[in-house]
Symmetry: C2
Subunit: 455 residues, 2 copies
Amino acid sequence: MFKRALLPESELPDRWYNIIPDLPAAMPDPLNPLTMEPLQPEDLTSLLPQKVIEHEFTKERWVEIPDRVRDIYKIWRPSPLCRAERLERALDTPAHIYFKFEGVSPSGSHKPNTAVVQAYYAAEEGVRRLTTETGAGQWGSALSFAGALFGLEVNVYMVRASFEQKPYRKSLMRSWGAEVFASPTDRTQAGREILERDPESPGSIGIAISEAVEDALSRDDTKFALGSIMNNVLLHQSVIGLEAKKQMEMMGEYPDVVIGCVGGGSNYAGLAYPFMYDRLTGERPKTRFVAAEPAACPTLTRGILAYDYPDTAGLTPPLYMHTLGHNFIPGKIHAGGLRYHGDAPSLCMLVEQGLVEARAMEQTDVFAAAIRFARSEGFVIAPESSHGLNAAIIEALAAREAGEERVILFNISGHGNFDLAAFESFLAGTLENPDVSDEQIAASLRGLPVPADVA
Amino acid sequence: MFKRALLPESELPDRWYNIIPDLPAAMPDPLNPLTMEPLQPEDLTSLLPQKVIEHEFTKERWVEIPDRVRDIYKIWRPSPLCRAERLERALDTPAHIYFKFEGVSPSGSHKPNTAVVQAYYAAEEGVRRLTTETGAGQWGSALSFAGALFGLEVNVYMVRASFEQKPYRKSLMRSWGAEVFASPTDRTQAGREILERDPESPGSIGIAISEAVEDALSRDDTKFALGSIMNNVLLHQSVIGLEAKKQMEMMGEYPDVVIGCVGGGSNYAGLAYPFMYDRLTGERPKTRFVAAEPAACPTLTRGILAYDYPDTAGLTPPLYMHTLGHNFIPGKIHAGGLRYHGDAPSLCMLVEQGLVEARAMEQTDVFAAAIRFARSEGFVIAPESSHGLNAAIIEALAAREAGEERVILFNISGHGNFDLAAFESFLAGTLENPDVSDEQIAASLRGLPVPADVA
C-alpha cells in the first residue's frame, strides 16, 4: 500500500476536462454588462487573450493542453496524492482519508494551474503586459510567477488592507518581477473616485478588479487575467482531478465522497469535476460531493441563485450564480481566498441540482482541524484548504458512527506558510467566528443587476 | 528526457551511508569537555538517546533505516530532483544543471531528515521531552514537527533576536505543539548569568545550546537534540544523496561537480557523501565537490583547523574542525543557517585533503542568483540554499567559457517562504556585504580549548 501516489511525468494529463457539455441542464448565458443581452465572445476581445475567450465559451468535453504549458506544469506536477493514515488513527475511524496536495507549486497553491495557461496564451498572442487583482495574494503570486516564465510584465492591484497586513506576499510577487499597487490607487478612474470619497479606503477585491480591468482596457499591449469563477479557469484546474483519478487507481480505491473548500470554486471544481463526470455519465452514480465554505461568507448555503456582477463596480459580465450580492462585505476571517460574494456558475448549478452538498464551517472549527492535521500528518495547510479538511473530518467521524469504511478524498489547495499570524491568533484563543445576519444578506442583495425573480 | 525525476516510494533508501570508514585518514576524536581526553560514548548518555550515540560513534558503512522512520520519510520523500533547463538557457551554457529539492518537507528544509530519527529513538527509549536550540528557526521547526508525530514534548530555546524578528517561525513551531522560549531565558543557570550581565542580550546559538543542554541534563525524562555538525546528523542526511544517485541515473547522467551550501555541513554532506563514496573508492575519481559558504562567516576558507567547542559556553565536546572561534560573531546576513563558527569534522578533513573545494560568496551575489532562479525556474529558495545555487551558476558560466557540457548537481536545502523580508531588502537595494577582518578572526581564535599547534 502506498502512502503517497506519485505519478511519473509521462502520466501528466495531456488534455483538460470541460464539464459544460455534461451538465444536467444548459447554463444561463453570462450577460453583457452594458446591454444585459447574452454575452458574445467578441465582447471580451479587448479584455482577454483570444484563446482564453475560446476556452471560456467552448462546449468541447476535452481540450488539449499545449506542450509548453505541460512543460511548465512539470515544474511541480503531477502533484502528490497521499493517504492520511495518521489522521485516520487520530480520529479512530474506519474511513480511508486521502488528500491531493497543491501546495507544492512554486507560489504554494493551485492557482498557477490556470495562471500559466493565461500567461502562455497572452505571450503567444503578442500581449506584453497583464493586469490582475489580488486579495490575500495567492492569485497575484501565481500570475507573477507565470508572467516571469513568459517574460510578461505583470501589474497586480492588491487590496490595500492585505497590501499592508501581508507584506511578504507582496515581496514574493516582486521577487518574480511583478509590480504591486495598493488598491484603490490613483492610477485609474475607478480608484480615484473611491479615493475622493474615502482617502483611507482599505479597498476590496471588487475595487481591485475594476482597476485592473480599466487598466487593461486602456492599453493595447495589455490584457486582464482572472483566477477563479470563470469557465476557462475551471477547465484549466481540471488537471488536479484528472491526476487524482489516476492516483486513486494506484491506491486501488475510488472515493465515496469528494471534498474541497469553495471561494469562487476553482480548486474544488478542479478536483471534483473529473469525478463528477463519472457520476453524470452514470458510471459512478453514488459518489457524493461536498463543498465547504466559511459560515462568515455563506454563498452556497445562504446566498440566492441570481444574476450578479463578479466585481463591485459592475464592469464585468453578470453571471447566473449563488450570490450574497456584489456589495456584500464578509466578516474578517483569515481564509481570505474564501471571502467572495459569488461562485462559479457550473458549480452553482450542481449545488442547485443536489449533486453537490454545500456546508458552512465556523472559523475556529476550521483552525482546530488544521492544528490536528499539522500534528498528525505534518503539513501546516492554508486556512482556505482547512475548510475542506474539516469537512473531511466530519465525514470520517460520520463513517465511524456508521461503522463504514468510507473512502474520502479532499483537496489541499495550498500551504499555510503565509498564514502563520492566523495560527498564532488561534493558538492564543483570540480567533472569533463572525456572524452574518439575514438582514445583512438581504440588504446587500438589493443591488442585483437583474432582479432575482426575472432571471 | 525528464524534467523532474520522481522516485517511487519503493525506491526510498532502506539504509543510510556513513562516510567515516571511507575517509582518507582517521578523524581526531572529539574530546570530553571536562577532561579533554577522547570522548567516550558513555560520556553522552545523559544528553542523547542511546541509539543516537551509537550512530555518532559507528564505523559501519551502512546503517539500516528503521521502518517507522521510513514510514514518516514517505510524507515527503523521495524528494524531487529536477533539471533546470530554463536556468541553463538564461545562462546560455552547455552545462546541464540539476537540483535536488529538500524544500518539500513539512517544515520546508532538509532538517527533518535527522529530526525524525532523533525523535523516533527518543520516543522508543521512553524519553518524554526533547530540548534544542534554534537560530533562524529551521532546525527548531523540524524538531517540533518530528516531536508532534511521536507525541514528544519539544522545548525550543530560540535566539532572542530571531524570536523577535521572525515571529512566524515561532508560530510554526507552536502549531506543531512545541514551546518556544526567547534565549537567554531565566529558566537556566546559563541564561540567568547572561541576563545578569546584559538584561538586553539578543542571544546567540552558542547561548541557546548551553541552555538546552543544561535543561536536558537537569531532567531524567529529557534529552537534547542537535541539527548539524555531528556524525549522526550527517549519517541521517545521506538519504538525500542516496536518492539523488538513483535520480541522476534516471536522468542518464552522473554529476561532474556536486555543490551545496555549508553552515554546519549537514545538507551538503547529505547530498555529497554518497557521490564522494564513488570518488573515494576510485569508481568516479574525477568528480569535483564544491562547498559554498558566506564571505561573512568564512569557516572553511578563512578559519583554522583546530579543536573548538560547538557552543559558546564550552559545555559540549570540542571537535577537530575548521573554526573561526566559538566566540566569533558574524556580520548580519540573512542566511541565518550559515552563521556558525565551525563545521562537521568529516567535511573539514575532506576540505583539508583537497577533496572538497570551499568557496566564499558575497550576500548580494547570492540574492541576485536567487532572483535569477525564481524568474527562470519558478521557485523562491532560501538564502542559505542560494549560496549553492550561486556556486552552480559560477560553474555553469565556467563551462560556457570552456565550451564543456559539464553536469552540475546542487542541493536546495529549503524554500524561501520565511525569508521574504530579506528578498524585499535586496530588491530595494539596501542589502550589504558585511566585512570580516583578519584581526576579528585572530581575536576570536584566542579562546580555543586546545591551542591550535598542540592538536
